[in-house]
């Protein structure tokens, strides 16, 4: 057996995808112009798939902070937090995040992926139980592979399914750690977090909430779903990322549990990788300040944009994810059509994401759009118009301009 033979099936499905022309996995932005526009294939293209929820990647204050930090402290730390890359700025960002959430402790990691991978796998060990939502992100599944704990899945967003599993485990010794996400990245649906927290606590478990897609977007102060549903003081750990709303890269975990700091000398994904460069820390600190100062305004604009795109596509007759969210997923019938429509959109100057199995729940094929406060209503109306036209060409929508009476 050749060294790459075990990936043959994956390669087959990738080849099928590429056979249709432009390759969704290697499309290149030749030049990024703004949070909402880039040059792709020599064409000015509208970006509707970059998770840039508040459009802060080009915020002048964040940009200046990054430049200044690079001048002051250099391009990189060339070391890990525990060995030789621990700067005052790292600790300052951790203090600011802890304060933002009203928690005692915060640990920053080099990516959001590493925050989940490292922290979730370190919270549990042999004899413990990780109880995860079936549709968890790859970083959570990978954490499961890095621990000796027993892994139990429950049905996506189903409190009864979680309860049944915790009930079966109730007489088992060992900690039970439940892992859920605020907003799920593929369909953009939110977790029923209140019942999840109630059930977890009733069975004496701990709960980790990944707010990667909900930081900024949800909650009165942008603290995510935990704030929106009023359980911030009851959840044990909140994990998040800097690579979406905060416009950069990195991850974090906040908690009120005494003893949290031991994770710094136990979490391998924190210990054995270089820490974030000064420029990143500086821009994230600036972005967090903006979230705290202007969050309400940016959030209103984001959700207005969500409504424009979601309601526009629903009215056109597209089948969408279950609820309004910064991620709007358009359900396609199969992989070939998904890539075909994606490519037609790109040729028409609109960039979205292709999401196909095994990255998607329930074997769904999706065109995944993500919204930004930086989008204008006009831009999104344009997307609805273009996608509706392409949908008709592909026979996904009725050819005639009949009003969708059935509502999808």
């Amino acid at each position: 057996m050749g060294i790459f033979d075990r990936h043959r099936q994956l390669l087959e499905s990738y080849r099928m995808m590429r056979a249709t022309g432009e390759d969704p996995l290697t499309v290149t932005m030749d030049r990024v112009l703004s949070p909402t526009e880039a040059i792709i294939n020599g064409r000015k293209t509208l970006l509707v798939g970059t998770n840039n929820y508040f459009g802060l990647t080009f915020d002048p204050v964040c940009v200046e902070a990054a430049i200044e930090a690079t001048r002051d402290e250099g391009t990189g730390t060339t070391g890990s937090r525990i060995a030789n890359g621990n700067y005052a700025q790292h600790a300052a960002l951790e203090a600011e995040l802890a304060e933002f959430y009203g928690m005692k402790h915060c640990m920053v990691t080099t990516t959001g992926y590493q925050a989940n991978l490292g922290i979730i796998s370190t919270l549990v060990g042999d004899g413990d139980y990780l109880v995860i939502d079936a549709d968890s992100h790859a970083s959570i599944y990978d954490a499961c592979k890095q621990t000796q704990a027993t892994i139990i899945r429950f049905k996506h967003n189903d409190p009864a399914s979680l309860e049944a599993r915790l009930r079966r485990l109730k007489d088992e010794p060992g900690n039970k750690v439940v892992v859920v996400e605020g907003i799920y990245s593929m369909l953009g649906d939110t977790a029923p977090l209140k019942p999840f927290v109630e059930i977890t606590k009733r069975y004496g478990g701990y709960i980790v909430v990944d707010e990667a897609h909900s930081l900024g977007a949800l909650g009165e102060h942008g603290r995510g779903l935990v704030e929106q549903v009023g359980v911030l003081d009851q959840v044990d750990f909140v994990v998040g990322t800097f690579s979406k709303t905060l416009g950069s890269i990195g991850g974090f975990c906040v908690s009120n549990h005494d003893g949290f700091e031991v994770l710094r000398i136990a979490t391998r994904a924190y210990m054995f990788t270089a820490s974030l460069p000064p420029s990143i820390i500086a821009s994230v600190r600036a972005a967090l300040k903006i979230v705290r100062r202007d969050g309400a305004k940016l959030r209103t604009r984001l959700w207005d944009n969500v409504a424009t795109l979601y309601d526009g596509l629903a009215a056109a007759g597209f089948q969408l994810g279950p609820e309004h969210g910064p991620v709007v997923a358009v359900v396609m019938p199969d992989q070939m059509t998904t890539v075909g429509v994606w490519r037609a959109l790109l040729e028409a100057g609109v960039y979205v994401n292709v999401a196909v199995p095994p990255a998607t729940p329930g074997g769904l094929c999706l065109l995944r759009c993500s919204l930004s406060s930086a989008h204008s209503r006009g831009q999104l109306k344009h997307v609805v118009e273009v996608l509706t036209g392409i949908g008709r060409q592909f026979g996904l929508l009725p050819a005639e301009r009949v009003r969708a009476v059935a509502g999808g």
Partner: protein, 103 residues
């Protein structure tokens, strides 16, 4: 380390499942086969020796989902750790029966 979970005895004496009697092996196999039916390749019947991910048109995610259904059907816990070591229908039935007996 993983195998440690395999033989763990679960006590579910107070479970809410209506039929407290242990299911027969045939019943467990039938429940599995019924759930695998949609993934059958052409007319080849699904047997105890059928290798689930190789002989059927099913991906690992769908296998995990089926295991989740079996957990609820028999009110047992089948950890993901064990699923990696289950290849055939018979092995899956054995895993279910082991958990049911420990219930």
């Amino acid at each position: 380390m993983r195998s440690a979970h395999k033989f763990k005895v679960y006590d579910f004496t107070d479970t809410l499942v209506a039929d407290s009697g242990l299911p027969a092996r045939e019943e467990v196999v039938a429940e599995i086969v019924q759930r695998l039916e949609p993934f059958r390749v052409e007319s080849r019947p699904i047997l105890g020796s059928t290798v689930i991910t190789k002989d059927l048109n099913i991906d690992s995610l769908a296998v995990m989902d089926m295991v989740m259904e079996l957990e609820d059907r028999f009110d047992i816990s089948i950890p993901l750790n064990d699923v990696a070591e289950i290849h055939t229908v018979d092995e899956l039935a054995d895993a279910v029966l082991r958990k049911v007996e420990g219930r």
